[in-house]
């Protein structure tokens, strides 16, 4: 019969070894690893909830700034609806411009969230625990903002319900053969799935918030927690449903960005019609998405003082992940480029010539942001664990990936089969306003969200902390993870 090593007392009261050397190692482990740095949940609950309620002047200034930009975006949109898409820079050849690039981009930055959460969950990676919710939230709002763009993009927004899978009075249904319809289906599925996945994981945290707040918040959290008590049955089902959702949502995630890429690659437009677009876009989306998650982690950690939860180890892990994605992205971009280059088809050559010709500044900026900087720096642990460095890298990757999307959408379209109809695209103010405004809107949603919803999945942290402990092996102290399943 094995003896339980647990001592009497809560799991966060771990015994300190008598040996000074070992005690130092334990202390070091606590500093390094969140999972070993167990603290009383009561304290952490308060830490989580307290930052949610604090709204300093800087918060309000940021909120007002983002709100103003959002307002500008809504105004530009309204003007666009009433005066027609003529105010944009689109033309008879480039009929899709930044709006579609934005769709791809926003889906992209929302892409990594659920992936990090779901895939790492299935793989039992502990470093996901404090950052899963922040990542999922990016997914949720990234998708929501992305879903705006087909709406902003269309010419007759007031007839958009024709695209829903419902009949009209002539029993006419939408066309399931259209890539836009697949895309809509995929985004809907992903949005619903992500929401469910996120909500399921939120229930215990809502219960926690319910138990430690008063007044209207308590009522709201009470309703949202659906009467969660944390019984063993509830926990068991939650684990299972989370695993099922994780399992289903990963292929859906792949299908979403593949679907988006198919919007382009189903067209026989040179520069678009490429079988590699599916995986290429998925990797690109993960790339920009992971960078976005890192950005959000930095911002959340800084502004909400969650230094306890988000530690160097997390940035390090994400940095390594980002480096892998950098390499993957380079691989795909190169594969795409060399295929076009080697094929030597006139139009694809013309597109490449345009990228290295008139659009060269943008093209090389993209390469700098997406290849040079990440590849040149991320191999260093010091860079990976430095918040300012990671912030800059994250921003650069966002810029680079955005440029890449615009070049693919608007750049390719400006070259087509009949050279008589080549028209270059120049953005006009509505596209710029709407794009920046939507970014602000995403930030606004995120800011407001973090004030109402625990952005750290505390129960997952507790779970990890409860299941891990330091163990002496020989002369070293190592952490031990309890596999409970």
């Amino acid at each position: 019969m094995l003896e339980s090593r647990a001592t009497v007392g809560p799991y966060w009261e771990k015994p300190v070894p008598d040996d000074e050397h070992l005690a130092q190692q334990v202390e070091h482990g606590r500093e390094q690893h969140l999972m070993l740095d167990a603290r009383p949940p009561a304290e952490l609950n308060q830490l989580t909830l307290a930052t949610m309620r604090q709204t300093g002047p800087r918060f309000w200034i940021a909120l007002a700034g983002l709100g103003a930009m959002t307002l500008a975006f809504l105004t530009a949109w309204a003007i666009q609806i009433f005066s027609g898409l003529g105010i944009t820079g689109l033309n008879r050849s480039v009929m899709w411009g930044p709006y579609i690039a934005n769709l791809i981009y926003f889906i992209g930055i929302g892409h990594a969230g659920t992936f990090i959460s779901a895939a790492l969950r299935l793989m039992r990676m502990d470093f996901r625990r404090p950052i899963a919710r922040a990542a999922e939230t990016i997914t949720l709002f990234g998708l929501a903002c992305a879903a705006l763009f087909p709406i902003i993009h269309v010419g007759r927004i007031w007839k958009l319900f024709y695209m829903m899978p419902i009949p009209n009075q002539r029993e006419l249904w939408p066309n399931f053969r259209s890539a836009l319809f697949w895309d809509m289906m995929a985004i809907t599925t992903y949005l619903i799935g992500s929401t469910l996945f996120m909500f399921v994981a939120l229930i215990p945290d809502f219960a926690m918030a319910r138990d430690h707040t008063t007044g209207w918040r308590r009522k709201v959290y009470g309703a949202l927690s659906l009467g969660w008590r944390g019984t063993d049955g509830e926990w068991h089902r939650l684990e299972v449903v989370s695993n099922i959702l994780s399992f289903v949502i990963i292929p859906v995630m792949f299908s979403v960005h593949t679907g988006v890429s198919w919007n382009l690659s189903m067209a026989i437009q040179p520069g678009w019609h490429s079988a590699i677009f599916g995986p290429f876009f998925v990797v690109g989306a993960l790339y920009s998405g992971v960078a976005a998650v890192i950005l959000v982690m930095i911002i959340v950690r800084k502004t909400m003082r969650y230094g306890y939860f988000m530690r160097e180890e997390h940035f390090n892990a994400m940095g390594i992940f980002l480096l892998i994605l950098t390499l993957s992205w380079i691989y795909f971009y190169f594969a795409e480029w060399i295929t076009n280059w080697y094929g030597n088809l006139p139009l694809e050559k013309a597109i490449q010539a345009m990228l290295t010709g008139p659009l060269a500044p943008m093209f090389y900026l993209m390469l700098f942001c997406n290849i040079v900087v990440p590849l040149g720096t991320l191999w260093s642990r010091r860079v990976r664990t430095s918040l300012p460095a990671m912030f800059i890298i994250g921003i650069l990757i966002q810029i680079g990936m955005y440029i890449e999307r615009v070049l693919i959408v608007a750049g390719s379209l400006s070259r087509n089969e009949l050279p008589f109809n080549w028209v270059n695209y120049t953005p006009h103010w509505p596209e710029v306003t709407v794009t920046l405004g939507t970014l602000a809107f995403l930030g606004l949603l995120y800011m407001v969200f973090t004030r109402f919803v625990p952005i750290i999945p505390v129960w997952e942290v507790y779970e990890g902390q409860a299941m891990q402990e330091s163990r002496r092996v020989g002369r070293a102290v190592v952490s031990t993870r309890t596999e409970v399943h």
Binding site: G84, H153, G155, R156, Y162, M266
Partner: protein, 240 residues
């Protein structure tokens, strides 16, 4: 998909590049017949000139052995139209009766996907509300709707004339005659460079002209099966 014969008509246009002088008669005729609005100077500069039929001019060679080649391009009414399946709302579809591409304006939501997917770039988007300075609107053809902003439009082979002609023949209980239905462009063309008819009617002019050795289809390699056939321009050399 090979061309499958059904009970409808296969409306076909033949463009004889040897005869097209680029004179723009078809362009203006189309504007008049189909209520196509005029794009202003600024819109043209921004690359939004809208003509359902446009005459592309390609230069060949250098001075003094330079040649200008005219290529009238309008909706090719493809048999395997790339623009059709991409429309999520069936605003662009294939008529099995007339075998042309139909654009349903009041179904169109303006995703412009069809415009991207048209290799001929013959689909136009209504970026603005069409404007007709009063009283120019008096001229509008009542058989053709003026498109609202936000919808795609394109050459219809003057479907209103096709329908009128077919109904007329129906009423009179007789088969359609070749040449009875002519779109505005072909009707105006001074040199007879545009010839229109039903390819499935063996006696029609187009059916007899399609097998010409000068015949080719625009961007034939894309497999769009256009219903527009071009006849290559020739050249007579001095001394022949």
């Amino acid at each position: 998909m090979a061309e499958e014969r059904n009970n409808g008509h296969k409306w076909t246009m033949i463009v004889d590049l040897d005869k097209c002088t680029g004179c723009q008669a078809c362009v203006v005729a189309c504007h008049a017949e189909n209520n196509v609005p005029i794009s202003s100077e600024d819109e043209v500069i921004r690359g939004r000139a809208n003509h359902w039929i446009r005459i592309e001019r390609y230069w060949e060679g250098e001075y003094p052995n330079v040649k200008a080649r005219f290529l009238p391009v309008f909706c090719q009414q493809c048999g395997n139209a790339p623009c059709e399946p991409v429309c999520p709302v069936y605003a662009s579809y294939h008529s099995t009766e007339e075998n042309v591409n139909i654009q349903v304006y009041n179904r169109c939501v303006g995703t412009r996907y069809c415009g991207n997917n048209c290799p001929y770039r013959t689909r136009l988007f209504n970026f603005w509300a069409p404007r007709f300075d009063e009283p120019l609107e008096q001229q509008l053809n009542p058989d053709v709707t003026v498109r609202s902003p936000g919808v795609m439009e394109k050459c219809t082979f003057c479907i209103q004339r096709i329908r009128r002609g077919r109904e007329q023949a129906n009423i009179e209980g007789r088969p359609l005659e070749d040449g009875e239905i002519v779109p505005a462009c072909a009707q105006a063309c001074p040199t007879d460079a545009l010839i229109f008819g039903d390819k499935w009617n063996e006696h029609s002019r187009v059916a007899q002209m399609v097998p010409s050795e000068r015949q080719f289809k625009l961007l034939e390699n894309l497999g769009t099966e256009p219903a527009v056939y071009y006849l290559k321009g020739g050249e007579t050399h001095v001394g022949e």
